[in-house]
Amino acid sequence: MNAAIFIILGSIILSFYLVIKAKKGKDMDLEQWTVGGRGFGTIFMFLLTAGEAFTITTFLGSSGQTYNNGGAALFIMCYGTLAYIISYFILPKIWRYAKENKLVSQSDFFVSKYKSPYLGVLTAIVGVISMIPYLIVQLNGLGIIVYQASYGLISPTLAMWIGTIVITIYVLISGIRGSAWTSVVKDFLLLFIVVFLGVYFPIHYYGGFGEMFQAIQTAKPGFLGLSETGQSPSWFITTVLISALGFYMWPHLFGATYSAENEKVFRKNAMIMPLYQLVLLFIFFIGAAAILQIPDLKGEETDLILLSLSTQTFDPWIVGLIGAAGIFAALVPGSMLLMTTSTLVAKNIYKVLKPQTSEKQISNLAKYLVPIIGAVSLFLSLQGGKTIIALIVMGYSFVTQLFPALLFSLMKNNFITKQGAFAGIAVGMITVTYITLTNTTVGKLFPFLPQSIKDFNVGIIALALNVIVLLVISLVTRNLSVQSKVVENKGVS
């Protein structure tokens, strides 16, 4: 037994304490469970958003990405910031509408705005198939980090089992409140660890930031900028833009915004949240430090660079703290994903198929689904494999397809019909699936275009088709309904 294990176990116990504290004196109906009775203030919402957005994928994946791709890895910091700026304008409107109509899920929003339960089913399906891979990645990350931080004493499989059980229990006990309270510990711990590592590694191994970047520039000239082709400036621009639009379309992030106590919360957070993105800069430093220290890592090994560099540098108790930060970084988003998936299935899919189900039954069903979806995700994550990474990339493109229909629904005179919204999202989904499965790029589809356009993020094609179909079908169905009304009126007169 070493110090690392005690710290890891201690952090799990601490998270349970927080979850039980969060539940105190609250009756957990569906509204309390999913949106915390809409009572979260600015600081709580800040911590929850940071807690959800800053996942284990960011922790392990971004440092690996810096190691692999150099300057291109900065795109996460950039799109996150732009997403918060967009949030200033759209979240207050979404929140107000959700409060007036007592909505609890993202799909509720589409159902209510477009007066179509079937649009709710479609958006719920989009959400579920995007969120389950996301949850799987969290569990896998948890397995890796606990295995590494415990120096191999706790196997990844055991860690994933424990992780799933912890997430399940804690979603069941206190819903979003548990996630928010755990976020408080998580955000501070992660901030501390990341800043510490990001400052310590460059100084310890190179003597300073300038020295480190000079050394990398000498060894790999231009690596810290964007490349000429592939992850080029035009790739960067389109990827940042699409990701910024898609960010709040994740159902667990979208739904969590309902829990704010008033709309000012979002405007305040839009100025504070960008600064939290600077945490990613320190992760960039960690990844950069590894480039020359542990060279020649390939593929999945690069996700481990943060831990490899830490275990070769520090005493076990610091590694234990890093492990604990990683566990929290998986638990908070994991619990939100699990809760949101269950709610979507119960409320926006099951209820539409069986309309006579009561609210109380739906609320119970959502909770019964938690362990089931947890078990399915655990089973899939134990299967492992690289396909999961492809699925999460696809998930991001999927949820982005909800953006056009959402944006139009926020306008005062929305001329988009429910058929238009449905068809647009469906076409977007089909395009994303086709593109992902066939590994298509813009360059492959249009080989005659200049290189800078070939490097466009391929998601832009799906989004463009989505908008075109959305507009065309809306115009057609609108005209049809106007005509049929005219006919009806004539019939009456």
Binding site: C78, T81, F89, G210, P233, K264, M271, P274
Partner: protein, 66 residues
């Protein structure tokens, strides 16, 4: 003062345009490669710009709608 919201476009130009005109490793600024410095600078500027938007946005003058 509704137009103050238009300021929010500036960070988009900063980040997206930066990929075109700030995509270089040298010169180093504050020890950071130029592109890294540029992106970090715009994260901070975005926060400042949103502070200005917040201060002058008439929507925030009204009391909280509870």
């Amino acid at each position: 003062m509704k137009w103050v919201k238009l300021l929010a476009i500036v960070p988009f130009i900063g980040f997206l345009g930066g990929a075109l005109w700030a995509n270089k490793v040298t010169p180093f600024v504050l020890g950071l490669p130029f592109f890294t410095f540029w992106c970090s600078l715009w994260v901070v500027l975005s926060s400042v710009i949103m502070l200005i938007v917040y201060m002058f946005d008439p929507d925030n003058k009204e009391g909280d709608i509870k």
